[in-house]
């Protein structure tokens, strides 16, 4: 403790230099925090995605749609708890570039829980949707974007035609839901309204969602679903929502590599900068260190003195940098919606800061400790 003032005065011997090093470490760790946060955040988000909900789509995308009648055989697959389905209608609101995606569902209670990763729907809203054939639920974002409110009637234009040849679809807004995805320009409507209205593709759906009792059986049940339809004209491709997200993440593998490379470059540059600055400082302080030795400081004490000085600056700066990273992290959310900065990044960052400080300080501190007193005092 009694050495604290000594360390403190050592740190502020050249305030300009210390502040610059401090800023450099801070910036490096702010970058470290944001990039590492993006990586770990995605992985954490992935692990939380449900493995007990399977997504069933046609094996050929863009080919014939799945018939709704597949619902019954799906229910009979062992291990399946509940099945629901969805179809979509692409529309535009007022201008051709204002796209609105209509999700047509059967309004079964499964929607309250099954797709919790993508949306939150309240029971009263779902009931309101079921009671109104032309009803839709909107995300609050749509109120912001188009000024829509519950009670409004909206007209969409779509390439999906009705029996009278018109592509105009009218909906009544009956409630709200909250989308968790990246694009909230999605509204939820009744499947019955869409299917009775359209001319083509009647009785088909885009995909099914299947909830299963045991998430560990996801792969086996997916395989048995696909096997069941493999020889029909409607081959399916089934996977759990988590597996699909993981596959999407895997295709980001190279970005992962990129982030690793960037972080390595940052830390190498930082290590070198800290180490050189320290060497310079020690060289300038040789006479002072020699005086300390003359008044009885041991080699070890000097070594520790220098190391503590560096660690203090590095760790405080790194923590501040990580704090900055946490503060600016919401900005990166545009990139990967729904991410939050995992606290583990702070721990990893602090450890990295210690390593940089120790590695950077080791050689200069050693040199300080081994100083020959007579030569040093003589200024040789």
């Amino acid at each position: 403790m009694k050495y604290l003032p000594l360390i403190w005065s050592g740190i502020w011997r050249k305030p300009g230099r210390t502040i610059l090093i401090f800023l450099q470490v801070m910036i490096a760790f702010a970058l470290f925090g944001v990039l590492q946060g993006l990586r770990t955040g995605t992985q954490t988000a992935m692990a939380n995605i449900r493995a007990d909900v399977l997504f069933v789509r046609a094996a050929v995308r863009g080919g014939a749609a799945l018939p709704r009648a597949v619902l019954e055989p799906l229910r009979d697959v062992p291990g399946v708890r509940d099945v629901t389905f969805v179809d979509t209608l692409q529309g535009t609101y007022q201008k051709p570039n204002q796209s609105v995606f209509v999700l047509a569902i059967d309004a079964s209670p499964a929607w309250l829980t099954m797709l919790s990763d993508f949306m939150t729907v309240q029971k009263k809203d779902l009931d309101a949707l079921r009671d109104s054939r032309t009803g839709v639920l909107i995300d609050p974002f749509m109120t912001q974007k188009f000024g829509w409110h519950v009670g409004d009637k909206i007209h969409l234009t779509s390439a999906t035609l009705q029996a009278n040849g018109s592509g105009n679809w009218t909906f009544d807004i009956v409630g709200n839901y909250v989308a968790h995805g990246e694009d909230p320009s999605v509204i939820i409507a009744n499947y019955a309204y869409l299917d009775e209205g359209r001319v083509r593709d009647k009785g088909t759906v885009r995909n099914f969602f299947v909830s299963i009792s045991d998430p560990h059986q996801a792969a086996a049940i997916s395989a048995s679903i696909d096997h069941r339809f493999t020889n029909s004209s409607n081959g399916t491709k089934t996977a759990s929502i988590r597996e699909i997200s993981q596959q999407a993440l895997q295709s980001l593998g190279d970005v992962d590599f990129l982030i690793h490379s960037i972080l390595s470059a940052v830390l190498v540059a930082l290590l070198f900068a800290v180490s050189t600055m320290l060497t310079q400082t020690i060289r300038e302080r040789i006479p002072e260190l020699a005086v300390l030795k003359t008044v009885g400081f041991s080699n070890r004490a000097l070594f520790i003195l220098v190391v503590v000085e560096v660690c203090w600056v590095c760790i405080v700066a790194a923590l501040l940098g990580l704090a900055v990273a946490i503060a600016v992290f919401p900005l990166a959310k545009n990139l990967a919606p729904g991410l939050s900065m995992p606290l583990s990044v702070l721990g990893v960052g602090a450890i990295a800061a210690c390593l940089v400080a120790l590695a950077g300080a080791a050689i200069p501190a050693m040199r300080a400790a081994r100083l020959p007193i007579v030569d040093a005092l003589a200024g040789r």
Binding site: L252, A269, F272
Partner: protein, 389 residues
């Protein structure tokens, strides 16, 4: 002594004494090299993606899609729309006098990756008869073209390289039948995405489709776009819109480019900032270690401005090797390195303009980094030198 002579002399002293201060020198070089290396790699990634996607884009080719469709896959155009669109003005006609307006359809499904046996999706596209008029960049590398009406397809060389079962002669079970791979192709300069092609009506009947996705139109000149777009708008019954090919590709590239831009500018700026701070620190240290020398120089008549200039030149000279090292390192590590974020794979392209940007970036770092230390050097009081002697 004139100014230029003074600066030249000072720069010579600075450079000849560099080896004595090699650690400080190395800090600047390594800091700048890391910042430039990262910047160059990220820019190269963006350039590579752009090159790959835009390589075959033609200004006189237009994609007609249904209104509001955000990608060709989501677009839907009825069969009877094709002849109607073909009759619109602005469309190039072939030697037989027919408009070059070709219906296209696409489906996608999984195939098996050669690398790890996992699933990867590929696109099977259908093109109308005489599609070569619309796709002049298409050329076969082996085999022959598909025959309309038969279950035959040609595959891009990228598909053949990445996926199982796309060699000439291979049979692929699809849509309840066996399809034969009869040829392999490349598209112009870029390999593009992994895709297979067959006749559009054969594809539609095999996969139970009754409409097309898009119509690809060749204009009689790039300037005819407005003419065609107006004619389409004038008839709302079409429910389609014309988009330049460039626009369609740009929309499909948006997520990737957005991510890369963020990474490039955010990371590049921050690293440059850190490298500049490092340079400032090192140059301060260099100036400090030369106080006596600089004061002496001023005592014997060297001007303030020439000292400031010489320090700035020195810092730029220090930044240059860093810039070159960073650029060369990035080039060695990444040029030709195939990256595949978002399942869209392309080669990184370290091009000359990128190296130019990197060197400019490094110059800025050197200049900004040298400014404060240079001013300090010019302010060292002459008396300091005299006292020290």
């Amino acid at each position: 002594m004139n100014y230029f002579k003074q600066v030249a002399g000072l720069v010579r002293i600075n450079i000849t004494t560099l080896p004595q201060r090699w650690t400080l020198f190395a800090t600047v070089v390594i800091g700048v090299a890391c910042a430039v290396g990262v910047l160059v790699s990220l820019l190269a990634m963006g350039a590579g993606a752009r090159q790959e996607a835009m390589g075959n884009v033609r200004e006189d080719r237009v994609t007609v899609m249904s209104i509001g469709a955000q990608s060709p896959m989501l677009s839907d155009i009825s069969r009877d729309a094709v002849p109607m669109i073909g009759d619109l003005p602005g469309i190039r006609r072939n030697s037989a006098g027919e408009p070059i307006a070709l219906p296209q359809a696409q489906v996608s499904m999984d195939a098996i990756k050669k690398a790890d046996g996992g699933p990867m999706s590929f696109v099977l596209g259908g093109d109308g008869p005489n599609f070569l008029e619309d796709l002049p960049e298409f050329h076969l590398t082996s085999g022959r073209l598909f025959t309309p009406g038969l279950h035959e397809l040609v595959a891009s060389t990228k598909c053949a390289r990445q996926l199982e079962g796309f060699d000439v002669g291979d049979k692929r079970p699809m849509a309840g039948g066996d399809w034969t791979v009869v040829g392999q192709f490349r598209m112009g300069s870029s390999e593009g995405i992994c895709m297979a092609l067959t006749d559009v009506d054969t594809l539609n009947s095999a996969f139970g489709r009754n409409s097309y996705n898009t119509i690809s139109v060749m204009l009689d000149s790039p300037g005819s776009f407005d003419l065609l777009a107006k004619a389409i708008q004038a008839n709302p019954a079409f429910k389609v819109e014309a988009k330049r090919e460039r626009e369609v590709v740009e929309v499909s590239m948006k997520p990737l480019i957005g991510m890369l831009n963020f990474l490039t500018y955010f990371v590049g700026t921050i690293m440059a900032l850190a490298a500049t701070l490092g340079a400032v620190n090192s140059l301060y240290a260099i100036v400090d270690s030369r106080r006596r020398e600089l004061a002496t120089l001023r005592a014997i008549g060297f001007g303030n401005t020439s000292i400031v200039t010489s320090i700035l030149i020195e810092s730029i000279i220090l930044a240059m090797p860093g810039a070159l090292m960073g650029a060369v390192l990035a080039w060695l590590l990444f040029s030709g390195f195939a990256a595949s974020p978002f399942g869209f794979s392309f080669k990184l392209a370290v091009t000359l303009p990128i190296v130019g940007i990197a060197i400019g970036w490094a110059l800025a770092m050197g200049l900004v980094g040298g400014l404060l230390p240079a001013v300090r050097a010019a302010r060292i009081p002459v008396t300091f030198a005299l006292r020290a002697l």
